[in-house]
Structures are given as structure tokens and as C-alpha cells.
């Protein structure tokens, strides 16, 4: 473990930086006079609300974006990148928020893509030398302490493995500047620790790491230095020792800082109707493209409670939620809402029986990105009698309702005809809530409601969920944020390997207890399931 993975480049003050960068997209000033400097052997966190301009800055550093003004600095000197190739050759590599791996290639193919070792074949042909590639891959994995089945198809590899492959790809190409855009968003706590271990090791070896996160604890735990952005500007930059999380929060939020912590009432007495509102019994699902099949899932949800679903990512939570909203077919079992049997019914039937659904994948499922705000907030209501005149849509009523919905959740928008992609992330998520709660659903199924949402947005969403519960509504809430679950839920069900491995009531909530359950092995011995 002592071998170096990166080669430090001489001794410079600023390994990578930016000086007075300006960048606008049309009327949006994404970066205004932004400066940052990152030295060798430094982990530099960049934090800020959604839309603060972090990713834009990173893209500029990577040569993916031509800036309107200012300059990128490499090794103390200003440079002008003509494209990402140039940045890569300067040792600057980026792991994007969305994974940049070709799913149909093997992990090894993805690792070497763009810089393949070659050897002559048949005397005239240069072909990729897979032996050399595999040797390099094994070595690099070994140094980082991860063993990877390199011949595995990427689409079937676990998420954290994919992320490592991306980082290794950069290291293999000699990058000693790593830009990681929200790398922890998809990782389980243990995996985050493992990643941090690797990053610290890289820092020891001289790397410069830029790390974007919305989680300030992570910043405190990992980073040496933090730069805070707000509304396209850098508003503060300091050593992490000099700044605690509440100071960071103040910079991030600016004047609007709400009391981030809210008070939460005791669980309202579940509205006592005898039968539970939703009842799932003996659900089994194992379609081939599911990451994790479901085994014998049973649960009840009463009126007026928030039930949390916890688990390390990829242990079946996603599949369970999809079964619960009619977006995935199961093989056996029963799902009923209000005594109506809805097993394997379509999403529309679930909705008809009073269900709303907030998808974890806002970009691809929660919203139609290029459609108008009106279409997004009204989708699904087009057949409600209130908006119909005979067989026709009543456009006036439709638009009136759209405005009312947006106003109810205080969504900031331009006009109804703007594309929904013109909204900031938080406002997009509020729009999803505005749509899903408009019909006063009895049961809200909510997954990752605050992923990538800024603090103000989180506060609005949390208080909405709580008020929903106060008025007798129920919520099934899946989240990877343990804090969020513990703050909102009346009880938490923990999943591991597609099974429920335990239930924790509010009184017993503690990260330790839930964390233990999350890592529990529900099988007596390692069963053969692959």
C-alpha cells in the first residue's frame, strides 16, 4: 500500500485554479468573477446551493466550457484550454455527477478507453494489448485496496465499483488533479468512508482534489480547504479548520438562511380506522434487470404516519418503491390500498386509489425536461372532470389550476410556457411535489425527495411532508439520508439484500442501530444467488 499512485509535479503553489472567471448562458450568469486556487496535496471542497455555479466552474477547469472572461490557472500559470484533451494532458481529470462509463463495455474496456496500451499484431496492425491493460488495472486496484472483476460488463457492476473505475481511469492516465462532482451522492456510508480513504491516500501522494458535495459533514471530515459559491460568485474561501458547518451554512444560504433545524411534533395518532391504509403482503419480485430481487416483503402503512425505508443503496429499496407505485411487476404477493387490491396494477390504478409518487430520478422520471412548466405540473390530471368540457380539455381551468399548484408550494417560475428545465433544481423538485400532492393523495410514496436540493428547498419539502402527516395523510419515504429519515419518520424499516431485516420505532432511532441493520446479513450462510 505504500506505492504511489500519482506522480506529483514539482513544487508549485497553485496546481489548478481559476482567476476571475465569467460565464453566462444567455441571461443566466452562471459564474461571476469566480476565483479558486488549489495547491498540491490538497483536498478542496466546493459547496453551494443548487445552481450556484459549481459544475460550471468545474467544466471550465476541465476545458469543457469556453469562458467569457478570466482564466484557468495550471501550475501557477494562466492557460487557455481548447478542449478537454488538453486538460487531460495537463493531468486534470473529472468524475462527472452522472457516471461516464459505457454500460455495454467491460470495466476493463472502460478503464483504458481513450488511452489504450497497444502492441503490433500480424506485423502490420496495432491492437489493444489486453494483457498489459489487465496488469495495469490489477495493479492500480491493488494499490487502492479494491479488487475488481475487470471482465465484468459495466452495466451489471455495483455503483461504487463503477465510481472507482472512473477514478482509476483518471489515475491511470496520470491525472493528479481530480475533480469529483458530488461523488458521494450514490454511496452508502461505509462506501463513502472507503472512498475517503482512497482520496486521503492520493492526497498523501501529492494529488490535488476538488470535491463537490452538499453534505457539510463530509466536507469537514475530508477537506483541507473549502470554497463557497452563491449565485455564481465565490463568497468565501477558507481552511476547513477556520470554518465550522454553521458558518458554511450561513455563507451558502446568504441572508435567507432559515432555521435549518425545524421542530417536529410527536407522531400524530394514526387515524384509527381499524384496517391500515396500505397493506403489502408476501411480495416477491425478481425481474432480470432488477439490481436486487425482493423476497417476501410485507408491511402496513396507517393513516397519519411516515414510514421510512432505509438501506444501503442497491438493496432493493428502489425495486420496492417501483412495485409500490405500479412501475414494476412482481411475481407474487399482494398490495392493497384502502382495501383495493392493486397487485401488479398499472400506475394509473394506484393513483386512482389516492396515491402520489415522487420519483428519485427527477431528471428522467419526475419531469419531462423539455416540456413546459404547465405540462409538467398538470401531467396526469388531463382526464379529471374539472379540466374537461365534454371530450375537450378546458384550457382556462387547466392553466388556472397550474398556477394554483405552483403557488401552493411557492415554486419560483417565469411563465407557464417556459421549459421546466429553466427552473433551478430545488424549484423543479417543489414542482414535482406540487403535482403529486395536488389531488390530496392519501398515500404519498416518496423516494430521495431532497437529492440535489438546496437547503431552502429541503426545508420546504420537509415541512410539507410533516404537514401532510398532520392532516392524516401517510407517507412511505425512501431516502439515503439517514438524518432525513430520522427527522421525518415515525418508524423505519430497514432493507438488506431484498428483505426487511428490521423495524426501528422512533423512540429507538439511532444511526448505530439503523446502520447495523443495514449491514445485516439476512441469510444464515452465504446463499448461492448468482
Amino acid at each position: 500500500m505504500s506505492a504511489t499512485i500519482v506522480q506529483p509535479r514539482g513544487s508549485v503553489e497553485i496546481r489548478i485554479g481559476a482567476n476571475r472567471i465569467f460565464k453566462s448562458y444567455g441571461s443566466v450568469q452562471a459564474n461571476r468573477n469566480v476565483s479558486i486556487s488549489v495547491g498540491p496535496r490538497q483536498i478542496h471542497a466546493v459547496v453551494g446551493e443548487n445552481g450556484a455555479g459549481k459544475s460550471t466552474l468545474m467544466r471550465a477547469l476541465q476545458g469543457l466550457e469556453t469562458v467569457d472572461g478570466g482564466e484557468v490557472i495550471v501550475d501557477d500559470l494562466p492557460v487557455r484550454f481548447s478542449g478537454p484533451q488538453q486538460a487531460i494532458s495537463e493531468g486534470i481529470g473529472m468524475v462527472h455527477q452522472e457516471f461516464m462509463l459505457a454500460p455495454e463495455l467491460t470495466l476493463l474496456e472502460n478503464l483504458v478507453l481513450g488511452d489504450e496500451p497497444t502492441r503490433p499484431s500480424f506485423g502490420f496492425l496495432q491492437t489493444v494489448d489486453w494483457d498489459v491493460a489487465l496488469g495495469e488495472a490489477r495493479q492500480i486496484g491493488e494499490r487502492a485496496g479494491i479488487s475488481i472483476d475487470w471482465h465484468r460488463s459495466t452495466s451489471t457492476a455495483p455503483v461504487h465499483i463503477q465510481q472507482y473505475v472512473e477514478i482509476f481511469r483518471l489515475l491511470r492516465r496520470g491525472s493528479d488533479v481530480l475533480i469529483l462532482d458530488e461523488p458521494t451522492a450514490v454511496l452508502a456510508p461505509q462506501q463513502v468512508e472507503q472512498l475517503f480513504g482512497l482520496l486521503r491516500q492520493l492526497r498523501e501522494n501529492g494529488a490535488s482534489i476538488i470535491f463537490i458535495s452538499h453534505k457539510l459533514q463530509e466536507v469537514e471530515a475530508l477537506a483541507d480547504h473549502v470554497t463557497i459559491m452563491r449565485k455564481g460568485e465565490t463568497v468565501a474561501s477558507a481552511s476547513v479548520d477556520e470554518m465550522n458547518t454553521s458558518q458554511m451554512t450561513r455563507y451558502i444560504m446568504g441572508e435567507n438562511a432559515k432555521a435549518a433545524q425545524q421542530t417536529r411534533g410527536e407522531p400524530g395518532r394514526p387515524k384509527d380506522t381499524g384496517a391500515p391504509l396500505a397493506k403489502i403482503t408476501g411480495l416477491n419480485a425478481h425481474t432480470a434487470n432488477a439490481q436486487q430481487p425482493l423476497y417476501n416483503i410485507s408491511m402496513d402503512v396507517s393513516c397519519g404516519e411516515i414510514v421510512g425505508i432505509a438501506g444501503v443503496a442497491g438493496n432493493g429499496q428502489e425495486e420496492l418503491i417501483e412495485c409500490l407505485v405500479g412501475l414494476r411487476k412482481a411475481q407474487s404477493g399482494s398490495i392493497s390500498i384502502n382495501n383495493a387490491e392493486l397487485y401488479n396494477a398499472e400506475n394509473a390504478s394506484f393513483r386512482a386509489h389516492g396515491q402520489g409518487y415522487v420519483s428519485p430520478d427527477r431528471a428522467h422520471e419526475g419531469l419531462a425536461k423539455s416540456a413546459t412548466i404547465e405540462a409538467n405540473v398538470m401531467a396526469g390530471s388531463q382526464r379529471e372532470p374539472a379540466f374537461l368540457r365534454g371530450p375537450m380539455l378546458d384550457r382556462t381551468a387547466f392553466r388556472k389550476e397550474a398556477r394554483a399548484r405552483l403557488d401552493r408550494l411557492d415554486v419560483q417560475y417565469g411563465t407557464l410556457n417556459d421549459p421546466v428545465s429553466s427552473l433551478s433544481g430545488g424549484n423543479q423538485q417543489k414542482l414535482v411535489f406540487a403535482r403529486e400532492t395536488a389531488r390530496h393523495p392519501k398515500l404519498l410514496v416518496v423516494s430521495q425527495p431532497t437529492r440535489g436540493v438546496d437547503l431552502n428547498g429541503i426545508a420546504t419539502i420537509h415541512s410539507y411532508l410533516l404537514s401532510h402527516r398532520e392532516t392524516g395523510g401517510s407517507v412511505v419515504l425512501a431516502s439515503e439520508e439517514l438524518d432525513e429519515l430520522m427527522f421525518l419518520c415515525d418508524r423505519i424499516l430497514v432493507m438488506s439484500m431484498g428483505r426487511f431485516v428490521g423495524e426501528v420505532s422512533r423512540a429507538e432511532f439511532s444511526p448505530q442501530k439503523i446502520g447495523e441493520l443495514m449491514l445485516a446479513d439476512p441469510l444464515p450462510q452465504k446463499a448461492a444467488n448468482g
Partner: protein, 360 residues
């Protein structure tokens, strides 16, 4: 099945777009056309013709008199149907390129009914023929619709292939069972006179099928802007995962738009058979389905764009032919212009990034 992507943001909204948007749409429509004519002009110059004079001639052949306008509208009639039939699907992200085959089979069905039913049925023959043609064509496109919706069989390939199959089947039928005894060619009998669609501006061949085509365009506009199904179809086109997660049946929508597309294609084939050709014969469709596709793209699925596009291509077809009477311009010029319009219609000129795309 592809998501509609970022191209048409305002498809849902019926309100007149802001003027910038209107200007942009006008640009998007006219720029490809202008460029195509420019390409034609280069060729004309190359052969020593004066493009200005030729285009002037084409303009007057297309729109120079009431008769020429009527001829243009007559040539645009089948295109109204095929463009609407295409747009209905494209708008929902269903890349149906099989309108031509459906048009042909519908036309054959209508022609056969038009001559085979007893003449005593009188005026009822025409609606019967149109209705049957619509059913035949709807069934024809229902097949790839179901294959896409239920089995995820790529609709581009299936509909492209079905065009060849439709041509084969109709070619076989018109040469065997439905072959006219007295014909020196592969044609059916001529339909009964009572079954013919009336002519609007005699002596021009412009017939009431044109009105039916306009009705289709209007119906399409209405359907897209004013009905829940039209709204749902647009959402499916934007993002089918999203549509599914808000309770819209994606397979149902796919099948629905394919059926509508078939109904419109069939009506088009019937109108062409009953109003224009008065029989079915080899060469019944001069690639109307493909021209309709170019029009739908040029129009970015808007109803008004479809109307303008159909008239434009109708004019190109009618003027491009008769212009040969008064000049030495070969028909190939028209092909070049048409091919170029097709290509430029889908090229995003505004975002042309030559050697290095920054990409988003």
C-alpha cells in the same frame, strides 16, 4: 422509440407563441427551403441556366393563375394526409416511417370497393370505401404499434420493412385478383362514377379530398391542443418514463397514435383513389409517405407548418413538372431540391458546431 428531446418545447401550448418564438419557427421552416433552392440554383448556374428566371417560372407555374394554384393544391392533397399521419406519431416519439405503405394499402382497398360494390348503392359507396380504407390502413400500422408497445420491436425498422411488404402485397393483388380484365397495365377497374369525389374547381383535378385533408389538419391541431389524449401523447413524446410514472399508459398511447396514423393514411389513400386516380394502379403513391415525413419534420409537427409544407411540396411537384414544358430544366433538379430540403429540414443550422462541439 425515442424521446422527442429538446426540439419542441411549446408543443403543448395552444396560445400564440411570443413573437420571438414565431420568428424562430418561421426561420426554422424557411431556412431549409431557402438553402435547398440555393443548392438548386448552383446546379442551374452550372448548366448555364439563369436561376432567377427559372425560379420565377416555377413560381408562376406553381401559383401563377387560378388553374395553377388548383394544380398545386391538387398535388398537395395526398401530402396533407401523410404529413399529419407522420406528425401524429413523431410527436409522441414514435418514429413511424410506414405511412407510405399504409397509404398504398388504403388506396387499394378504397379503389376495390369503389368499383366492386353495386353501383346502385350510389353515394354511399364513397364513405364506405373511405371507411374501409381507414380500417385497413389502421390495422396495418396497428401491427408495428403493438410490436413496439408490447415487444419493444424498433418501429423504424419494422415500419420501413412493412413499406416494402405493402408494396409487394398491393403489387401482387393488383396483378392477380384485382387486375382489370381490360387493362394493359397493372390497374384495377375504374371506380363507379358515383363513388368519385367531386371536383372543386373544374377543370382542375383538385377534388374534395383536399377538403378532407384540411379537415385532417384541423382535427390534428384540435387533437394536439385540446384533448387529453393529445396532451398525453405529447408527454409520451417528451419522456416516456415520465409519462408512465404520472399514470399515462405508454403502450396504449403508442398503439393509439399508430392507429390514428393509420386512419389518416388510409383516408389519404382513399381520397387519392376516389378523387384523383379513380382506380388503383402501379405507381399509386409517388413516395407521398416520405415527402409527408419531410413536411412533418419541416413543420416540427405544427398544424400550420404542415399546411404550408404540403403546399410547398405540392407546388414543387406540380411546377417542377410543368416547368419542363417551358424550359430545359430536367426533373432531376426537383429531386435535388427535394432531397436537400429533407436533409436541411432536420439539420439544426442554428447549432451547427463544426469541428469541436462543446456539447451539453
Amino acid at each position: 422509440m425515442v424521446d422527442g428531446g429538446s426540439e419542441n418545447v411549446v408543443a403543448i401550448d395552444a396560445r400564440p407563441p411570443r413573437w420571438t418564438l414565431a420568428a424562430e419557427n418561421a426561420m426554422r421552416f424557411s431556412l431549409p427551403v431557402l438553402l435547398a433552392f440555393l443548392a438548386g440554383a448552383v446546379l442551374l448556374l452550372a448548366i448555364g441556366e439563369n436561376p432567377v428566371a427559372i425560379y420565377q417560372l416555377m413560381l408562376s407555374e406553381g401559383f401563377g393563375s387560378e388553374r395553377r394554384i388548383a394544380a398545386t393544391l391538387s398535388a398537395s392533397t395526398p401530402l396533407l394526409f401523410t404529413a399529419v399521419a407522420t406528425a401524429v406519431c413523431f410527436r409522441s416519439g414514435v418514429f413511424n416511417v410506414g405511412v407510405d405503405g399504409a397509404f398504398v394499402l388504403g388506396g387499394l382497398g378504397a379503389a376495390v370497393i369503389g368499383y366492386a360494390l353495386p353501383v346502385a348503392l350510389g353515394w354511399t359507396i364513397a364513405p364506405l370505401a373511405i371507411g374501409s380504407a381507414m380500417l385497413i390502413a389502421a390495422f396495418w400500422l396497428w401491427v408495428p404499434g403493438v410490436l413496439l408497445a408490447k415487444l419493444e420491436v424498433d418501429e423504424v425498422v419494422s415500419t420501413l420493412m412493412l413499406n416494402f411488404v405493402a408494396l409487394g402485397i398491393s403489387g401482387f393483388l393488383v396483378n392477380s385478383v384485382f387486375l382489370s380484365e381490360t387493362s394493359g397495365n397493372n390497374t384495377t377497374e375504374t371506380i363507379h362514377e358515383v363513388a368519385e369525389l367531386s371536383r372543386l374547381l373544374p377543370p382542375s383535378t383538385l377534388h374534395s379530398g383536399f377538403l378532407l385533408g384540411l379537415l385532417c389538419v384541423l382535427g390534428y391541431a384540435f387533437w394536439t391542443q385540446r384533448t387529453p389524449q393529445g396532451f398525453e401523447a405529447a408527454l409520451v413524446g417528451f419522456n416516456n418514463r415520465f409519462a408512465r410514472s404520472v399514470g399515462i399508459s405508454v403502450p396504449g398511447t403508442i398503439i393509439l397514435v399508430m392507429i390514428i396514423s393509420g386512419l389518416v393514411s388510409g383516408a389519404g389513400g382513399a381520397a387519392h383513389a376516389l378523387g384523383q386516380v379513380h382506380k388503383f394502379s402501379d405507381g399509386f403513391s409517388a413516395g407521398y409517405g416520405f415527402t409527408g415525413m419531410a413536411i412533418a419534420l419541416l413543420a416540427r409537427n405544427s398544424a400550420i407548418g404542415i399546411l404550408l409544407g404540403a403546399i410547398l411540396f405540392g407546388a414543387l411537384a406540380s411546377a417542377g413538372t410543368t416547368v419542363q414544358l417551358f424550359s430545359d430544366i430536367p426533373l432531376d433538379i426537383v429531386n435535388v431540391i427535394e432531397g436537400t430540403v429533407m436533409i436541411f429540414a432536420v439539420v439544426e443550422l442554428g447549432r451547427l458546431t463544426l469541428w469541436r462541439g462543446t456539447g451539453q
